[in-house]
């Protein structure tokens, strides 16, 4: 099983005069899920795009394992669910999801099982225009999972998903990517979600982004909604909130 860790060394980024990411160095361990939280506009998406190789950092370097992000991308080891679902409007839901495997040059596996898992059973042959915002987002998540990537980048994947579906996906999707040994970076605005899904929460400051807190999430037991009510989980949540307030 390939395991790819993510190294950011002195990475910084500015757009014109605005400094968006201050020089920061972090290492995300292989097979772990890391949540990035921080105020809106602080540079989370920018950091994720640099990890994906979509933006080049102004200074420093990003390595996935011992490769550059673009090299991992070329061998189909990378996948990302964007903040905006960006499905191709002329493809059906099934074809949009299959596109992930197609582009990564991987065998698609069972597309229909994945469609059922994200709760889109019965909509496989619909076009994106016929779906709600939350449904489109779930199709985009399925597209990022279908290629079984080594590095999975999720930018607010559940933002528009309704509360009940979100709760179900929060319980059912992480085991899938954990069992494959994927290294996952998850951006979320929900502290509960960050605690529930990740092994580690990084709290970023307002722009320019720097790491203000690095909080490990060591929780035993199955990761579902009930876990959040345990004292351990609540303690972690409080810690994250406190760091966010200071950020």
């Amino acid at each position: 099983m390939p395991s790819v860790d993510i190294h950011c060394v002195d990475v910084s980024k500015r757009f014109g005069a605005t400094e968006v990411v201050a020089p920061l160095s972090i290492t995300l361990e292989a097979g772990q899920t890391t949540a990035l939280v921080g105020p809106s506009g602080c540079g989370k998406s920018t950091l994720l795009r640099m990890i994906a190789g979509l933006e080049d950092p102004d200074t420093g370097e990003i390595r996935l394992g011992d490769e550059a992000p673009q090299a991992v991308a070329r061998r189909g080891g990378l996948a990302m669910a964007f903040q905006d679902p960006s499905l191709l409007p002329w493809r059906s839901v099934r074809a949009n999801i299959a596109l992930g495997a197609e582009l990564a040059r991987k065998p698609g596996g069972d597309v229909d099982a994945l469609i059922d898992l994200v709760g889109l059973g019965g909509f496989a042959d619909h076009r994106p225009a016929e779906l709600s915002g939350g449904m489109r987002q779930r199709a985009a998540i399925a597209r990022s999972l279908i290629s079984a990537p080594d590095v999975l980048l999720l930018d607010e994947p559940f933002g528009a998903v309704d509360a009940m579906t979100r709760r179900r996906l929060n319980a059912e999707l992480p085991p899938l990517w954990r069992s494959r040994g994927a290294t996952v970076v998850l951006i979320t605005h929900s502290v509960e979600e960050a605690v529930l899904l990740s092994d580690r929460v990084l709290v970023l400051s307002s722009r320019p982004a720097r790491v203000v807190a690095d909080i490990p999430v060591d929780l035993s037991g199955t990761r579902d909604a009930r876990l959040l009510e345990t004292p351990d989980a609540m303690a972690v949540s409080r810690q994250v909130f406190a760091a966010l307030e200071a950020a």
């Binding site: 189909g76 409007p89 582009l103």
Partner: protein, 511 residues
Amino acid sequence: MMPTVRAIGWCLFLLALWEALARISPDTVLVSSPSAIAAYVAENMGLLARATAETSVNAMWGFVWGNLGAVLLGVTMILVPRSQRTLSALALLVFCVPLIASGPILRVLFGTGTGPQVMLGALAVYYTTLLTFLIGLRSVSQNWTDLMRIYGRGALSTLIRVRARASLPYLFVGLQISAPAAFLGAMIGEFTGAERGLGVLTLRAMRGLDTDATWTLAVVAACVAMAAYSVIGWVGERAVGYKPVILLSAPASSVPTASWMRLAELGFIAVLVLALWQSSMDAFDLNRFFAKRPGDVWAFLMEPQNRDTLFSALAETLSFAAPGYIAGLAVGAGLAALLVLSPSLSGAAMPVAVALRAVPIITTAPLLVLAFGRGLVGTMVVVAVMIFFPTFVACQQGLRQTPGQIVDVFKSYGAGRWHLLRAAQVPAMLPAFFASARMAVPAALLAVTTVEWLATGKGIGLLMAMTASTSDYNMLWSCVAVLALVATAAYGMVAMMERAVLRIYASEQVV
């Protein structure tokens, strides 16, 4: 079904009205009636059928080659971004040569046969298709290209999986507009010395002042072009599956470059054009007697006498073209604005405008000259009519681009229609207006030179017609070169005005 029935009803009503007008009109030299046209068709069935088939086949080949060329050019420009500026400048320059000017030259190069008709058909279509296709290829959100990059896929993959499909609706609009344009090109090819086809018959009917024949030919050409237009539209709707809102012309790009860079680029393109001209003549080893090189034209134009002849003809032509150009733009934009003030009229006018877009306007030129005379007014009307419809359609689309929330804000303050029009809708229309104003420059020159060649016997059109028949090939090539320069310069001037105005009113359009 209801709209079809209503449309047929309207057609019948208009036909009856036309018949009635033609009957009470005392001047039978000008207006032909539907019954007279029907009679002419019945009498000359075989001749008309053969001519229509001939022209249609030529137009079809022109359509195929021209659009194929446009697609290849567009794909190259996307895959090799560095080639973009040079290729688009070359494409524009070729487009700026009025067809009626390249016609005689192609005629001498190809000799008799259908070569010039097909080539002119191709030249008439490639530029509009290229523009619409390019807009389509670029109508791709950054998320989609990011998605391709996430999987390590490059420009070619993006082209195949994303751009090609995204550009499809735009491509079909280009193809649709191409149908009448290819017809127009083929007919102009026939004007310049073919043996068969609708263009030849039109020329004969004009010279013989045969009103019924002239009208019949215009009607036949219009019907064939409209049929092709609707068939392509129908196929497009099936193939695309949805109806996206489409703006037909891109705003002039203004990549901020230093002025010396622009000058250097201009110089490079000029040298490239001259080199291409010279080398293509040499490569095919064309006879110097009729295949003139840049040097020949230069030497010819250095003689003051030749220059005087050419420039006085050009001055006459421009003095006719400019008022027609301005009138066409003004009426097109004005009517679009008027219809916004009165939406109920718009429902009636839009189908007519769309139908008329499918008519190869040049075929109506002889009729317009018959009606308005061989002087300034007749020429002006032909030019204005040629420009009016594309401008009108583009401006209407532009007006609809006014963001809904802005309209709502104005309405919530109880602003009147005039206020809304002036403050929100006209600025929203400006990009579309200027884009069509740019495209109208070559169209105006095409219209004026064609009508001079065919009907009015004035200006540079006449000069070219004469030199083509007296084998004064130096003068012919000089006319073509000068016309291309004038058209390109005028296009550049409109583009400069466009940038200046858009910078104030629609800064988001100027990248």
